[in-house]
Amino acid sequence: MAGDDAWPPSNVTKSTLEARVKGGLLRPLTDEGLPEWIAPLVSDREPNPPPGYVVCFLSFLDRGFGTSASRLIRVILHYYGVELHNLNPNSVMQAAVFATVCEGFLGVPPHWNLLLHLFKADMSARYEGGEKIPLRVGGCTLQLR
């Protein structure tokens, strides 16, 4: 990242997102007035989502973030008091793997108490001269205990 207070410019285009639609990772556009997703404008130096939209990342889609967002991801965000952009790809993947283990192997919906037993969250940061600098994105990491 350019600095602790700067977002990197987005490299996402409409064609990038259409490729994710083709891959089944993103819903197709069905309503021009209320599109399911929007590629940032080149002039968007940092996210400025319209009302009713959040900031998501391509890597989240690649690592199991489903749209609509699963109940598990929503509960994780509410419990830890963070927004979607505060997670990082590894955290999204941990949640997706956990849901798969619960549903596919244990035969139960993702179990919240089991998640808390197995995982903890930590603050991700970068270090500069021994000082911990918070990250603008991806500041909350879900990891196995």
């Binding site: 977002w7 996402v12 989502p49 009713g52 749209t67 990082n88 903890k120 969250a121 930590d122």
Partner: protein, 38 residues
């Protein structure tokens, strides 16, 4: 699935927040690790 997370922060876009089920975007930055996270 990609094998590297390198540069993932540049892959941002806007996603419709279905019925407001996700916390709305405020640009929040995580500056501390509350005790309940442990």
């Amino acid at each position: 699935m990609p094998t590297s997370n390198w540069g993932w922060q540049s892959g941002w876009f806007y996603l419709q927040n279905d019925s407001g089920l996700l916390l709305g975007y405020t640009g929040k930055k995580v500056t501390e690790c509350p005790s309940k996270w442990a």
